[in-house]
């Protein structure tokens, strides 16, 4: 177990280094510069700017300086948002994305599992079809469409919710629905198919034969086994929901990190691009790392295998 975790950890560090290097190179390779603007500036002004941000140094030296600062935990200062430290931008904006992300993950799991279980237990009956229609709708309407639709119908026409912002608990409802619709559908379908399979397997039949109560079977045996793929998916989902809320953040004017990420790229704000990329990468890696560990904990076979080594 410890060896397994250690191994994963080292791989994480190595991939992080590659990621930093690749991002740095790619970012500098794309045309455009953080110092350009629509109105041309004189050469002297341009030179002053380059000197100020150290962009007049050779690329390899800039890279060295960046790595050195990075190791010391210094992500630098944004070039476009004058004098705002990158770590501060992340620290201030990420909680919004995180809160929304967590709300969506919980909603996805709870609603997705319920729909999936219901559908599996009523395999090929009305409830099954109904749940799967909902799932297909959730999967096929992109959040880009769903979000404005929800906003217009529930916030402008009915005025049950606020159009934008994240000030009260009610403000979470619309963005959470828009953000979790697809993953609800995905989880529901996942649970349904594995559950149908599990419910027909020998050990469930044995359990039934032994006279175990029905709900106990579903809860204790079937669900637990059906959860395995969901747990794997959870790592991706968590990271995906937190990083992938750019559209939702834009439409509901949520001051989250996604907005800054997109903007940093179009601004060519080098330190901010690097900072947010690294942050997202670490987050993604940690999520997957935790999912891996959770997998070990949930699946007895993995535990046994780990011990065997």
């Amino acid at each position: 177990m410890i060896r397994y975790i250690l191994k994963k950890f080292v791989i994480m560090l190595v991939s992080l280094f590659f990621l930093v290097t690749t991002t740095f190179v790619l970012m500098n390779a794309i045309p455009g510069s953080p110092l350009q603007s629509e109105k041309a500036t004189s050469e002297a002004v341009q030179k002053n700017l380059e000197a100020y941000y150290g962009l007049d140094k050779p690329m390899i030296e800039q890279y060295g300086i960046y790595l050195k600062n990075l190791v010391q935990g210094d992500l630098g200062i944004s070039m476009k948002k004058k004098f705002q430290a990158v770590d501060k931008i992340i620290k201030e904006s990420f909680p919004y994305s995180l809160k929304l992300g967590i709300a969506s993950v919980i909603t996805s799991i709870v609603v997705g599992c319920l729909l999936g279980i219901l559908a599996a237990m009523h395999h090929r009956k009305f409830i099954d079809n109904f749940a799967m229609v909902i799932a297909v709708i959730g999967l096929s309407i992109p959040s880009l469409v769903m979000a404005p639709l929800l906003q217009y119908s529930l916030a402008v026409k009915i005025r049950a919710f606020e159009v934008a912002g994240l000030n009260g608990p009610l403000d979470y409802v619309l963005p959470t629905i828009a953000l979790s619709a697809a993953s609800i559908a995905f989880i529901a379908r996942l649970i349904r198919s594995t559950m149908i399979e599990v419910l027909n397997s020998d050990f469930i039949k044995t359990a039934k034969a032994k006279g175990l109560a029905g709900h106990w079977i579903v809860w204790r045996h079937a669900l637990r086994n059906s959860m395995l793929p969901v747990v794997t998916f959870l790592g991706y989902l968590t990271a995906g929901v937190i990083t992938g809320s750019v559209v939702i953040e834009k439409i509901f004017a949520i001051p989250g990190l996604g907005k800054f990420f997109v903007q940093s790229v179009s601004d060519r704000d080098y330190p901010l691009i690097m900072g947010i990329t690294i942050f997202y990468a670490v987050l993604l890696m940690v999520c997957r790392f935790l999912a891996d560990i959770a997998y070990v904990l949930v699946d007895p076979r993995m535990r046994a295998g780990g011990k065997g080594k």
Partner: protein, 564 residues
């Protein structure tokens, strides 16, 4: 079998129950929330006229990159800064300078020395008095290469300003600005510049407080450290979310400041901005403070809910005049004549823009209180005539020894609006001239680099005013030496006229010279292909007065009020 059925029905019941519970819960919340949101607009509308809550709320699409006057470059920042900082003068919404920190000024005979007399009751938000020394410090700071100000060139009018910025001289005392005493500021200019009084209203010339700024580069990045001298104070700056400004009780002209609070939310999405307006969460859209969704504009204007105002910006296409086929003036002219500008405005842009044949928009001032375009209309610069265009194209091709227009590309920066215009224009060229032109779009940063490098045949461009003078649209766009002349248009005569205009002894002569240069470049040479002069579409809630789009198309709100 039996027990499975029982179990499943039980599950269904529980689930149905919980869903119902969730629904009713939701309904409960709905009911609780809706009277609240529904009532507030009604309540504010029925409030008595004289004590209407004096709050003004609007949105900006992106956060001001900086609120340090020396580092600001964009419209968003300038809208916020107009509330926070007060310069020597202040432009009214027509773009005319009015006394602010300077109560009066004297100009020397040769027009090169300005002496500003400052009021003695202006204070910084930290309590310090606003002095001439502050201005001297601020202007030199903006020019200092160590400050790395992008807009430092706005101060190149000062003697030795450019040299100091380029590091050619290191002694700041040689720069042409000096505090004679606490309330007298002397500015020495490189040439007679009558619009200098307007220039000092620009944010790059705004003062900063030395105690708050010196050695603290991040002073303007947080509400807690910013020190300002304008009608409002920055109370809160939640990055990425909102800015809250409150009335400055110590402002010398506080009696004329009506709003007690201004809330500026940062909202990028156009339809969200519109929905916020519809649900009474904001009071204003337009003039760089949010924009009305373009598909809604015609309907809203018809209903009288939105207003259209002309602003000082020009939408045009650049020709690469250094490469075939657009090195030929006749071919350029043919392309300009072969499009129908009004049709583009009516069917594509739909915001009642004015077809453009010149460079300088109508809201730019001329002389003697008349607009530049009133004095020098652009109607004679070009016409739209397909037959004439075909003839010119044939002549032009012959001159170049070509038989047909080679494969060319029209480059624009990625945006639905620019795309629609480009498609319409390329279609007109195809139908009217039989010319096939490819379309290519690039993301903004890439586009700028490609355009700067001259790697295009035809490229989209737009130019907005930095200050209210025709020189800003001519020298910058068609002078052979201008860095913004991306089509590399070169006509020595135009260059000479504009050089003379810069140092002209009086304003009438100057404007005349500028008009001559513009006429040569546009009528004879078709240096660029002007398409339209921009407008801005604005919406405001009832009861708000004196919140307008200024001549340049920026929201002017600081001295607005709510009357009911």
């Amino acid at each position: 079998m039996n027990f499975k059925k029982v179990l499943s029905s039980a599950m269904v019941l529980t689930l149905a129950g919980s869903l119902l519970a969730a629904c009713s819960n939701n309904n409960g919340n709905n009911n609780a929330a809706s009277p609240d949101t529904g009532a507030s607009p009604g309540a504010s509308a029925s409030a008595p006229a004289n004590n209407a809550p004096q709050e003004f709320r609007f949105t900006l699409a992106s956060e001001p990159p900086s609120l340090d006057p020396a580092l600001m470059t964009d419209a968003q920042s300038s809208i916020v800064a107009s509330g926070l900082f007060d310069g020597l003068t202040r432009l009214n919404s027509a773009g005319e300078p009015e006394p602010a920190i300077a109560t009066k000024w004297d100009v020397s005979e040769d027009g090169k020395t300005y002496t500003f007399h400052l009021r003695d009751d202006a204070k910084w938000s930290n309590g310090d008095p606003v002095t001439a020394q502050d201005f001297e410090y601020s202007w030199k700071r903006a020019l200092d290469p160590a400050t790395a100000s992008e807009y430092a060139y706005m101060l190149f009018y000062l003697e030795n300003g450019e040299k100091f910025n380029a590091g050619e001289i290191t002694d700041a005392s040689q720069v042409g600005v000096k505090a004679i005493d606490e309330h007298t500021l002397e500015a020495k200019l490189i040439s007679n510049t009558p619009y200098f009084v307007s220039l000092v209203a620009h944010y790059t010339y705004a003062p900063v407080n030395k105690n708050a700024v010196d050695g603290k580069p991040a002073w303007a990045a947080e509400a807690s450290t910013i020190v300002s001298n304008g009608p409002y104070l920055l109370k809160e700056w939640a990055h990425g979310d909102k800015l809250v400004l409150e009335k400055n009780p110590n402002y010398y002209n506080a009696a004329n400041v009506s709003f007690t609070k201004a809330t500026i939310s940062l909202v990028e999405d156009e339809s969200t901005v519109f929905n916020l307006f519809e649900t009474d969460k904001i009071d204003w859209i337009g003039a760089q403070a949010g924009s009305v969704p373009s598909d809604q504009v015609p309907g809203l204007v018809k209903e009288g809910k939105a207003e259209i105002k002309e602003i000082a910006s020009t939408y045009y296409y650049l020709f690469n005049t250094k490469e075939k086929p657009f090195n030929n003036a006749k071919i350029r002219k043919a392309f300009s004549m072969a499009i129908n500008r009004q049709a583009i405005i009516d069917n594509v842009t739909k915001a009642n823009q004015t077809p453009a044949f010149g460079l300088v928009p109508a809201s730019i001032a001329g002389v003697d209180g008349k607009g530049y375009r009133e004095l020098y209309p652009d109607t004679g610069f070009g016409s739209e005539n397909v037959e004439e265009a075909k003839k010119l194209l044939a002549e032009g091709l012959k001159e170049e020894g070509m038989t047909a227009i080679p494969a060319t590309t029209l480059l624009y920066n990625t945006s639905e609006g620019h795309k629609a215009i480009a498609e319409a224009i390329v279609d007109m060229w195809r139908q009217n001239l039989g010319v096939e032109m490819k379309l290519s779009n690039q993301e903004w940063g890439t586009f700028l680099e490609t355009r700067d490098a001259g790697q295009f045949n035809v490229a989209r461009a737009g130019w907005g005013a930095d200050f209210n003078h025709a020189i800003n649209f001519t020298y910058d766009l068609i002078h052979p030496k201008s860095l913004n002349n991306d089509g590399k248009y070169e006509n020595a005569e135009v260059g000479k006229l504009l050089d003379e205009a810069v140092v002209a002894a009086d304003e009438k002569t100057r404007i005349d010279l500028i008009a001559k240069a513009e006429k040569i470049a546009m009528q004879d040479d078709t240096a660029v292909l002007p398409i339209y002069y921009y407008t801005t579409v604005t919406m405001k809630k009832d009861g708000f007065e004196d919140v307008v789009s200024d001549y340049a198309g920026h929201l002017d709100w600081a001295f607005g009020k709510k009357t009911k």
